[in-house]
Symmetry: C2
Subunit: 623 residues, 2 copies
Amino acid sequence: MEIIRSNFKINLHKVYQAIEEADFFAIDGEFSGISDGPSVTALTSGFDTPEERYQKLKKHSMDFLLFQFGLCAFKYDHTDSKHITKSFNFYVFPKPFSRSSPDVKFVCQSSSIDFLASQGFDFNKVFCSGIPYLNQEEERQLREQFDEKRSQANGAGALAKCPVTIPEDQRKFIDQVIEKIEDFLQNKEKKSLDLEPCTGFQRKLIYQTLSWKFPKGIHVETLETEKERHIVISKVDEEERKRREQEKYAKEQEELNDAVGFSRVIHAIANSGKLVVGHNMLLDVMHTIHQFYCPLPADLKEFKEMTTCVFPRLLDTKLMASTQPFKDIINNTSLAELEKRLKETPFDPPKVESAEGFPSYDTASEQLHEAGYDAYITGLCFISMANYLGSLLGPPKMCVSARSKLIEPFFNKLFLMRVMDIPYLNLEGPDLQPKRDHVLHVTFPKEWKTSDLYQLFSAFGNIQISWIDDTSAFVSLSQPEQVQIAVNTSKYAESYRIQTYAEYVGKKQEDKQVKRKWTEDSWKEADRKQPKVSDPCSHTNSFAATGTTGKRNLSPDPGEAGSEDRESEEMSDSELEQIDSCADPFPEGRKKAKKLKRMKKELSLAGTVAESSAMLFEVPDTW
Amino acid sequence: MEIIRSNFKINLHKVYQAIEEADFFAIDGEFSGISDGPSVTALTSGFDTPEERYQKLKKHSMDFLLFQFGLCAFKYDHTDSKHITKSFNFYVFPKPFSRSSPDVKFVCQSSSIDFLASQGFDFNKVFCSGIPYLNQEEERQLREQFDEKRSQANGAGALAKCPVTIPEDQRKFIDQVIEKIEDFLQNKEKKSLDLEPCTGFQRKLIYQTLSWKFPKGIHVETLETEKERHIVISKVDEEERKRREQEKYAKEQEELNDAVGFSRVIHAIANSGKLVVGHNMLLDVMHTIHQFYCPLPADLKEFKEMTTCVFPRLLDTKLMASTQPFKDIINNTSLAELEKRLKETPFDPPKVESAEGFPSYDTASEQLHEAGYDAYITGLCFISMANYLGSLLGPPKMCVSARSKLIEPFFNKLFLMRVMDIPYLNLEGPDLQPKRDHVLHVTFPKEWKTSDLYQLFSAFGNIQISWIDDTSAFVSLSQPEQVQIAVNTSKYAESYRIQTYAEYVGKKQEDKQVKRKWTEDSWKEADRKQPKVSDPCSHTNSFAATGTTGKRNLSPDPGEAGSEDRESEEMSDSELEQIDSCADPFPEGRKKAKKLKRMKKELSLAGTVAESSAMLFEVPDTW
């Protein structure tokens, strides 16, 4: 269902209902660009740490606009054993709602725009009919503005607390206004009085004076015509005054809700606490929080806390497809290819039907890169893969729910694009810390190309190159033993320089500390000659496993507090263990159980040092 | 005529022809935003110097995209006494033409996008069908890339000059390729040989080896399929080889031209040297140069030189309408209002017809903010105003040409939006230096609003406030004598501070000098306590009148060097003088002549100190 500005309000209850009923959601976003940096390659070095990657995405991607948001709600119908879907495709645009509202600037990247254009994306719909939104700070400010205006009208606001002294040259003007009003109150025929248009400052003075001079019996209101504003005074009894107040208040509340706009949908998803599935969803999650909640926090640890507050359960289908037991049987994890693959054996495409009144998507005729469609097939992929995990159980479970323990190992782990040895960002605790003892940091003249690096390392067999910038790259050798040979050889080289990854990280930390020293103790002379050599990986140790302790304090809506009820889980940990331990008479069954165990092991590596020589994940290059 | 990517090439000759025939052009641009700064108000302080304004626009406006360009060519038909118009509306978008081409990022401002959307602007046409373009540096780089590729194929390029040593592990591969080719050359039946797909580095090695091993008799080419690239070797005699080379060269030239795209139109306009008319055109001119020539220069002086190189004759209809004799009879100088006003007496709407094959615009049903239409009515406004000047002559001249001396005083003076006392940017020399001895610089707490300033200066009668930022503003008093009173009074104030404009500029200059001292002689200790007080306006003195001496060295096209022929001018300066000096028997005639004289005087103030108390220009607030 396509939702734009004009049909947003009348369909919002349908969105809320879909969210309330759903077992889980799939989401997808379309953006006006991917990377504002020098190039996408530079943005995603193969040996980024999760913290570095977060900083790069935050710096280079958040100025783009998320202008289409796909939401597909899935609900399992036990009677007919099928999934009922409600899919929404929202067009989103920060239309300024008044002259004082934020005038958002956003960046567009020609390649992204050109790509979307080639896919038939409707930019007119975004810019002409996009639903507005506010982040939490903007919402708070607007609420405050309304409150202040109201209390000003009531004569009880900030204005009344700090009254302006009436300047000498305004005294006559104000006296005349008071006189007029007194005449008006005497005149029984007249119901209302229009004052002459005047300046904002004069209106302020009038409001202030009338609030103490005529605390009862009149209603003061500013009317706005095309060119000017003027004050209207009406005679009202207390009941009428209250009625008008309430009417005004209701109207303001509606204006406020209209301005908060699409953010209300995100708040509802967040407040449901239900599982949110996405494909390669790190950027979607970052954009969603940045655009509809608040600017992203300064460091990764805070981002993790914030994210688990907003979305307590996330699942990334790209990570799932790149992990055992899927890794071995899925070659290409791009969304379109994955969707195709999951239609074939050993997978079983799920029975899915769109709810009444909701248009259905046909996966045979692709509508890729429409956010609603992408969300829909992301959900299908999740179901297929989850069911496959169920099929490995003994006895096989044909339909695995979104609350099954089977999929829990994938919760809150977001796929990391093109990082060679850290497959995911772990939202619930510290990240993987791969050894990288086979990695070299190479510095060279800016004329060098990939081929020059291949040539330089031609004696070392297979190498992998990961560019950092014009004059440096990481080169990973196939054997850690060769690292020292390469470093030693380079000692006599003039044009290039090689150091180990550990040396590189150490120097970087050192520079950071010296810099900090300079800022913190700038009055002391920093001793540049005796810097302490720090643990190369110490900065990643700071990811204490506090991610899940964050409070759900981000949403202003009271809403339901997220169903944390786990009684209906289909399989306990002990059940899973049982599959492993019990003697299965059929080798096939044992093999299946092993697959599940391998998956659990693979995903529980967080916090321990991953063996880089036994890399468990592929590094697909497709989005 | 609407021009998009698909019909650009087949219509380009029509554009060139229109440019060649035209007497003058009118242009207009539509942008994705106006100001990237905190707010448009902050961007345009009423007391900006021209240099400050240039810097602000350069910093805050150049990241937006000029995505629609209107060009209307006007040619006078003497037989039928009417103007023939050819109007073009170009959609422009930096579609990347290859993987290595620049991926332009541009900013959109929601308020501007929302405004254009409300005017029915077609964003899909821009993003899906916009004509690509390159600036001069990008064009040069692409040309170089093609040249290098060609000389690489010829074995004479940079590659051949610095040959890569074939690494040991590649030697066998290369030897096998050579063997294959030798077999192929022996085989009389086979015309061509497809090599196995290989890496870019291997292709490089193959090209290099073949260029010296088989300098004649074969043609080497890389073919690209969807997934990979492979080399094809064909047997060719010298003639065939040359034919293929030429074919390839022609194809490359076409690709290059396609990539340069819309910039070719701008080059043609520039090379014509003809009068280019625009309405409030400073931003249009800046964007056009920035987007299609090169990034804007660091300072205003260079910008002036560059602009007069690219567009030797510019005329701004907003400036014209704000100057005598028009100022007195035109109240609103916004384009739409101006167009309406110029249909009424004493003006005479010109006879205009669109050329055959060109759709005509109907000014009765407004299509405002379509660049082609805006350019068209800008041209109409220019003709009406020029003809009005002609009507003031004795005897009256009913049709004033674009090369008439009458309009020359308006050449190369671009309207300055919302600057109180400097009506225009003078491209051909130093700018006006108004006295500003009635202006105060006020600093105050950030809570202050306009009303607080009005209150503070309530004793001084009429004042004009021009905000600089949250905590400062210029306040101009109606009488310069009051300035010292205000400064003296403020000496005892704690919350605010008042200084004269001269003091403010002096301190600013001082700070600049200290800063420069710090950077230039950072090893010396800068003496902060004895700075020299410099002439507050000295920085504007540096605009030596060298603007017109710039060489036309910006365009790569040889093109025609701009018709500088002035023999056909309709009226010489002496004729104009004659009107002034000769005794005109009719008072009406004398009045008219006075009007022309007043206009000339007004516009020749550049370089002299303008009397701010006798401000000649209004400061319209409409775009």
